[in-house]
């Protein structure tokens, strides 16, 4: 099979934009042509209008949800790295606890969320915990894999130089693990947001601290479908933004020196 040449940047950015514009145009045309009521399918125009009209309400909800997602993401990073480092220190610890990390991954958050919400008095904290549980596994799994993926030759070199456990960890294992760690973060960033939204749904917290999930819930009940779409759009945009930021940070951190970010022809 022939090697596919990479597309120019203008195409890679322009093509999806064109697709979006065509889809929106079609959508608008269908809604107008069949005169669909906004409580069934709102036109893109109606969604945009709602986004502007309800901006105060939607913005404060967005801030609530994103704050919870970011706090959960940070918590997942810290906890995930600490757990992965513990796993890397001892095969025994890893063998004993890794199955429970998997348990964390396979148990649906909607099933755990009510428990956490009952046990934790502060709803905000409960929501952060729920979202962190969702985002935790990829950080643990990837960082653990990375800490173990050390070049055997380099490990021998460190042994030959009688490197201490700490030196081997800090000078060899941690740098080797970085690309895997950042790979885990890319996955976890999206999961943190999903976890935050799901937990809000379960908690159903309204009023002052209402997040976007609550707005979606209420808009659904009130058949305010344009607002539902607007909230959905904001969640998606927040997810993409979070991913892009994490991706940029990982590129900056790795680009200068790490193989994974290299031109493959150099190897």
């Amino acid at each position: 099979m022939a090697e596919r040449a990479p597309l120019p940047r203008a195409v890679r950015i322009g093509a999806p934009v064109v697709v979006a514009l065509v889809m929106l145009g079609l959508w608008q045309a269908v809604v107008t042509a069949w005169a669909l009521p906004p409580w069934l399918v709102p036109s893109p125009r109606a969604v945009l209008d709602t986004l502007v009209a309800d901006r105060a309400l939607l913005w404060s909800s967005l801030v609530v949800t994103v704050t919870i997602a970011l706090a959960a993401f940070a918590l997942a990073i810290v906890a995930g790295v600490v757990i992965a480092l513990a796993f890397a220190q001892s095969r025994w610890i890893e063998a004993s606890f890794f199955p429970y990390a998997i348990l964390l991954q396979v148990t649906p958050i909607v099933a755990i969320a009510p428990l956490i919400i009952i046990w934790v008095r502060d709803t905000r904290v409960a929501l952060v915990l729920c979202a962190a549980v969702v985002a935790l596994f990829p950080v643990i799994a990837n960082t653990t894999l990375g800490l173990r993926s050390v070049d055997p030759g380099l490990r021998d070199l460190f042994r030959l130089a009688r490197a201490t456990r700490w030196q081997t960890l800090w000078r060899l294992k941690v740098p080797s693990a970085l690309p895997y760690f950042f790979g885990g973060l890319r996955i976890a960033s999206g999961l943190a947001l999903i976890g935050a939204v799901v937990a809000e749904f379960v908690a159903g917290t309204g009023g002052q601290g209402a997040g976007l999930a609550y707005q979606i819930l209420m808009a659904g009940i009130q058949l305010n479908v344009p607002r539902l779409f607007a909230a959905l759009l904001l969640i998606a945009a927040a997810g993409v933004a979070l991913f892009v930021i994490v991706d940029a940070i990982s590129r900056i951190a790795l680009a200068q020196w790490h193989e994974s970010e290299l031109d493959p022809t150099m190897r």
């Binding site: 380099l154 070199l157 030959l160 130089a161 030196q167 000078r171 020196w257 790490h258």
Partner: protein, 280 residues
């Protein structure tokens, strides 16, 4: 073994006549060492050898003959399942540190991809907590020795395969080892780079008064470089012959083109062929 103790810290500069002095105490002695891996593979049948100061000993043999296993045992990277090893008369390899006395060069350059050439070469000294200024001076000297002073700030990925191997050798030389172990270091290089590095390795061996144990499956490379060749055979890995190479150094292309060189290569080739026929 008392007489060995006195020789432990002596570092003898080699005279122009570099024939090893048989009277001097060996650096490494292996007595009936064997290695069976946990999987049950008999990597090495009982093998005995002595490496004397100033020697350039090559372990020559086909794949799977236990060359690398034996080199790991000599480095102290692995323990034999049977038999004993002594280093400078002692039962354990010398402590690493500022004056790490055993240098090891791997099959691939095994450099830290995220560190510049300078930091890669400094690594053994950094691990030994050598004071920075002193370490830097040693790094500069080692880089100059391998001809890479101009590339101290480069990353490994920016270098050719031969240059990366030079960095790897500089890293092994930076602790000023007495014993340098090399595991098929130039096997992945093109022939031009390989010949050049062979010549330079021979030059470093002489100028640094090193003792070298070199692993290769190239008969020509073994004859060209060594003062002595230990021919190995597979299944189980063992030493089948101990062949001295008498030619004087420096050896150049004239030696490669000589009848003596060709005859020695043919003789070794026959030895290896016989051994591999015998085990079917």
């Amino acid at each position: 073994m008392d007489h060995l103790a006195g020789a432990r810290h002596r570092r003898t500069a080699l005279s122009t006549d570099i024939a090893p002095d048989a009277a001097r105490a060996p650096i490494v002695v292996a007595r009936d060492v064997a290695k069976t891996y946990a999987s049950g593979t008999h990597a090495l049948a009982p093998v005995s050898l002595a490496i004397r100061p100033g020697e350039f000993v090559t372990l020559l043999g086909p794949s799977g003959c236990g060359k690398t296993t034996l080199l790991h045992l000599i480095a102290g990277l692995d323990a034999p399942t049977q038999g004993t090893l002594r280093w400078w008369g002692e039962g354990a390899p010398p402590h690493a540190g500022d004056a790490q006395r055993i240098g090891y060069v791997f099959q691939s350059p095994t450099l830290l991809p995220w560190a510049r050439v300078r930091a890669n070469v400094r690594l053994p000294l950094a691990l030994a907590n050598v004071e920075r200024a002193r370490a830097d001076a040693a790094v500069d000297a080692a880089l100059a020795r391998v001809g890479l002073d101009a590339f101290a700030r480069a990353f490994p990925r920016e270098l050719s395969g031969g240059m990366r191997m030079r960095v790897s050798i500089a890293r092994a030389l930076v602790t000023r080892p007495h014993l340098l172990l090399l595991d098929e270091p130039f096997g992945a290089l093109d022939e031009f780079s390989r010949h050049r590095l062979d010549d330079e390795l021979a030059a470093w061996w002489r100028s640094e008064a090193l003792t070298v144990v070199f692993v290769t499956h190239s008969i020509a490379e073994a004859v060209y470089l060594s003062t002595r060749i230990l021919v190995m055979a597979a299944r189980p890995g063992r030493i089948i012959a101990d062949v001295p190479v008498g030619a004087r150094y420096p050896r150049g292309n004239a030696f490669r083109a000589s009848l003596a060189f060709a005859e020695q290569c043919v003789a070794l080739s026959d030895l290896v062929a016989q051994a591999s026929q015998a085990d079917g």
